[in-house]
Symmetry: C2
Subunit: 110 residues, 2 copies
């Protein structure tokens, strides 16, 4: 991951609607949600949502796939993984105990 990509991804997440969308898609998992379902769920106008979905997709945080008239969106787990990995690069450097709490946090309580 390069720095510019990371900045665009963080900027994408730094906006209420897009943050909601991403978290919604994380919860939706492999099923994903159509653009229309997302807009309806979050009560955002169609064109505004479309713009925001495009921004998320451009950064690699979500993917999409056409299904007939609809377009289904999915959280891109690989994308978010690469972003977090970039951010925390060399966190451990011999000190695993520093980032262990972070790992635990993400490990869904397990």
């Amino acid at each position: 991951m390069d720095k510019l990509t990371a900045i665009e991804a963080f900027a994408a997440l730094a906006q209420p609607t897009r943050l909601d969308v991403f978290r919604l898609l994380v919860k939706a998992g492999h099923e994903g949600l159509s653009a229309g379902e997302i807009a309806k769920t979050l009560t955002i106008r169609q064109n505004t949502m479309s713009t925001n979905l495009a921004i998320l997709a451009r950064t690699g945080l979500v993917t999409n796939q056409r299904e007939g008239r609809s377009i289904r969106y999915f959280a891109d787990y690989q994308g978010i993984s690469a972003l977090i990995s970039f951010l925390m690069e060399d966190c451990c450097g011999g000190n695993l105990e520093i980032c262990q709490p972070i790992i635990d946090e993400i490990a869904c309580g397990r």
Copy 2:
């Protein structure tokens, strides 16, 4: 973590200087770095860096501590952990295999 805090944290990271600072502090670990050392390392003017450090501190991504005339800054591992945790909330929900790759990524190759 509430949504507004998360948005401010992502916005803080969505800027070249601040992203550099945070990654630098992650690498610096518990030793941290003084504001001056950070500005010098990244070749950013003093007042601009001060503004950006304040933004990072306000969001809970970094902490600081005065040491004589200097102020030493540290990455706040608990803060970033809470942010990532908020972002990935309910990712697992019965499907650990979805977020396992993310956990692995952050686990510093171990």
